[in-house]
Symmetry: C2
Subunit: 233 residues, 2 copies
C-alpha cells in the first residue's frame, strides 16, 4: 500500500529545514531505522554530501539514520532495498534527468507502489505526478522525458502562488501557465501552497496543513479545496 | 547583416500591444511592405488567426501588411522569402516545438543571418539565444531539443524580475535560477527587464530602452549594464 507524504516545500519562511513537518515525519517513517535521501535535484552551491548532511542532522533528532543515494554503487538496487526514501527539492529538470540517467525512475515507482514510505518536497513532490510539466523550474538541463512517477493520478504545482493583484509585471501568472498546460494535457493539476502536503495511503489522498489548495481541472473553473479534502476527483 | 530587435515584452503595464516599440518598428521594418508573423507560441485562448489579427491591426498603423505563418502551405519556404519576420510571445516550449515540427528553426536562423529584419518579443526573443534554457515558461510540451537560433552569442531571460525583498515565498528567485543554469552551462545570460530591448545590427548588439539590464556571466558577480551598453562581452 502506497505511503507517501508529498509536501509543497521543505521549509517555511522563518522556519528551519523540515521543521514544520517533523511531527509528521516521526509517524510517517515509524519503524524505519534508516532512510535513503535522493539529493539529485540540487544543482550546485551545495554538494550531494553537504545536502545529505543537512538531512541527516534533521532526521537524527527523530532517531532515523540517513544515507545519500549518491553513496551507493548501484542506486537502483539501493532504492529497491530502502526502508524509506526522501527526495529533496532543487531543480526538477535536473532531478528527472538524474533519475533516468541512473535507471532509478522505474524502480522508484516500483518501491513506492510496494509501500516504501516516501517523503517528497518541492521537486521531490513534483515527480510524484504523471509528468513534471507543471514545475516552476528553469530548464537548465534537457531530460530524456518529462514523464515522472505517476504515483498520484494528477500533476502538482508546488510552491503555488496566487496572482499578485498589485503587480505591474506582464509575465504570466501561475494560474495562466497552468491553463496553458491544459491546452495540451488532459490532467488535473493541484496547486499546493507552501505549508500544505498530501498524505497518501493506498488510494486515499488527503490534503494536509492549514491552507486550502487550488485545483485546476481541464475545462472547469479552478476550485479551492479546504484542508482535509479527499483528492478523489 | 543581421538586423534584429529583441524585446523583453510586447506590452508594458497600462500600455497597448507593441505601443512603446512602434516608433522603433517603423524604422526597423522600413522598406518592408509586408512581414510574416509567427504565432506558434500562443498556447490557446487565442487562435493563430486572432493572434495574427491583433498584430495586423498594430502594423497597419505604420502601413505594413502582416501574414500569419500558419496561413502558408510551406512555412519554411515562406520564412526564406519573407521581407520581415515577427515572432510573438506565449510559451517558449510550444514555440520551439512548433518551429522544429514545421522545419523552421534552421531556415529562420538562415533568414536572420542573411539580414531579414526580425522582431522578437518574450518567447520570440528567447529563441534568439543559444538555447531556450533560461525561459520562465512552464514545460507544457516536450520539444525535440532546447537548442534555439543562436543569432546572439548568449542567452536571454525576458521579463527579468528582481528578487522581491519583502516576499515570504520560498520558491527560487530569478537570479537563483540563472545561477543554477550556470552550474551546467557556460553561457552568459542577459536579464532583460520589461521595457528593454536589444538592437542587433551585424555584430553590434546594443541595449535599448530606459532601464538597465542584468548580466549573468559564469563564475562572475552579476553586473548591471546601463542603457546603450554594447553587449560585446
Amino acid at each position: 500500500m502506497k505511503n507517501l507524504l508529498i509536501a509543497s516545500t521543505s521549509t517555511l519562511h522563518n522556519g528551519g529545514y523540515l521543521d514544520y513537518l517533523l511531527p509528521e515525519l516521526k509517524e510517517h517513517f515509524k519503524g524505519c531505522s534508516e532512510i535513503i535521501f535522493i539529493p539529485y535535484a540540487r544543482p550546485g552551491g551545495v554538494s550531494h554530501d553537504d545536502y545529505t548532511a543537512k538531512v541527516k542532522a534533521v532526521f537524527s533528532t527523530i532517531n532515523i539514520a540517513v544515507k545519500g543515494l549518491h553513496e551507493f554503487k548501484n542506486p537502483s538496487e539501493a532504492i529497491l532495498n530502502a526502508k524509506g526514501i526522501f527526495t529533496g527539492g532543487g531543480n526538477t529538470f535536473l532531478l528527472v534527468s538524474q533519475l533516468y540517467k541512473n535507471n532509478c525512475m522505474t524502480v522508484l515507482k516500483q518501491a513506492l507502489e510496494n509501500g516504501t514510505p516516501y517523503l517528497g518536497t518541492s521537486a521531490g513532490s513534483n515527480i510524484c505526478g504523471i509528468s513534471m510539466q507543471t514545475t516552476n523550474d528553469m530548464p537548465i538541463i534537457y531530460p530524456p522525458s518529462f514523464e515522472t512517477l505517476g504515483v498520484i493520478p494528477f500533476n502538482l504545482n508546488p510552491h503555488y502562488l496566487d496572482p499578485d493583484t498589485n503587480s505591474t509585471h506582464m509575465g504570466e501568472t501561475r494560474e495562466t501557465r497552468i491553463k496553458e498546460f491544459h491546452q495540451f494535457n488532459n490532467l488535473s493539476v493541484l496547486g499546493l501552497r507552501e505549508g500544505s502536503w498530501l498524505d497518501v495511503k493506498g488510494d486515499s489522498i488527503v490534503l494536509k496543513g492549514a491552507l486550502t489548495a487550488r485545483l485546476f481541472q481541464p475545462n472547469k473553473e479552478p476550485l479551492e479545496l479546504p484542508a482535509e479534502s479527499k483528492m478523489n476527483f
